[in-house]
Amino acid sequence: MPPDQHFDVIVIGGGPAGYPAAIHAWQNGLSVACIDEWKNADGSHSFGGTFLNAGCIPSKALLESTELVRRAQQEFGRHGPSGRMGRRTNSARA
């Protein structure tokens, strides 16, 4: 049976392993396809797999955001700015 598509390299998974592998393959002159099956909670599809969309990267981004808010609230005063810091957060990111 003839293939429906053909490439030099097929990368299965678009996460932190597959994504750079695909780009490096292309940088070496190869035609590349990268496939991913990830489906978001709302049914839409996106690139990057579990690690990027639901695992370590979102959780680390949220931790970094909360750390920055904490430092702004508690440490800005040492450098001159004064006044009460709000507690509004970036709900889209959260």
Partner: protein, 163 residues
């Protein structure tokens, strides 16, 4: 994230789930490509040079994990992000189905070093408890202990002690 890759020339195929790897013979010869499912439609994609599996880890799959040590039941599932970022060994299993052998699996050797991490409390399986985990040496005869980490294992055992 997909856009820079597409600008670079990588073809991104979303909603494509690999269902099988094609090889010349069932367990030998060149890898020819993959079969994928795209919304219920089967497609065959040919790879002229290589198929690279980047599907993530395997420690969410208890049966897979127990190949390396039969004691690795559910309570040893210590990978971060579980169960929302399940690591189901799907890529490894697809490769094994066409005759691939495994070696140097990061989740078996790198994440916890040369010992296995067992959460102290049943249900605490998400891996963010490094100071409350029991360490378990690899079982003698485990492929991991035999081939991958023996020198490291000796060092680590001397530091952590065996349980």
């Amino acid at each position: 994230m997909a856009r820079p890759a597409e600008w670079a020339g990588v073809r991104i195929l979303l909603e494509h789930r690999m269902t099988a790897i094609h090889r010349q013979e069932s367990h030998s010869g060149r890898v020819l490509g993959i079969a994928v499912d795209n919304n219920g439609k089967r497609l065959d994609i040919r790879a002229r040079r290589a198929v690279i599996i980047g599907t993530g880890g395997s420690t969410g799959n208890v049966n897979f994990q127990r190949m390396f040590d039969p004691r690795l039941m559910e309570e040893y599932c210590g990978v971060a992000g579980m169960p929302w970022s399940n690591q189901d060994a799907s890529g490894e299993l697809a490769a094994m189905a066409v005759g691939a052998s495994l070696g140097g699996l990061y989740n078996q050797t790198g994440e916890f070093g040369s010992v296995l991490a067992k959460p102290q409390f049943i249900g605490c399986q998400y891996g963010y408890m490094p100071f409350s985990m029991q360490m378990l040496s690899w079982m003698p005869g485990s492929p991991v202990a035999r081939y991958s980490i023996r020198p490291v294992q000796r060092d680590c055992e001397s530091q952590t002690g065996k349980i």
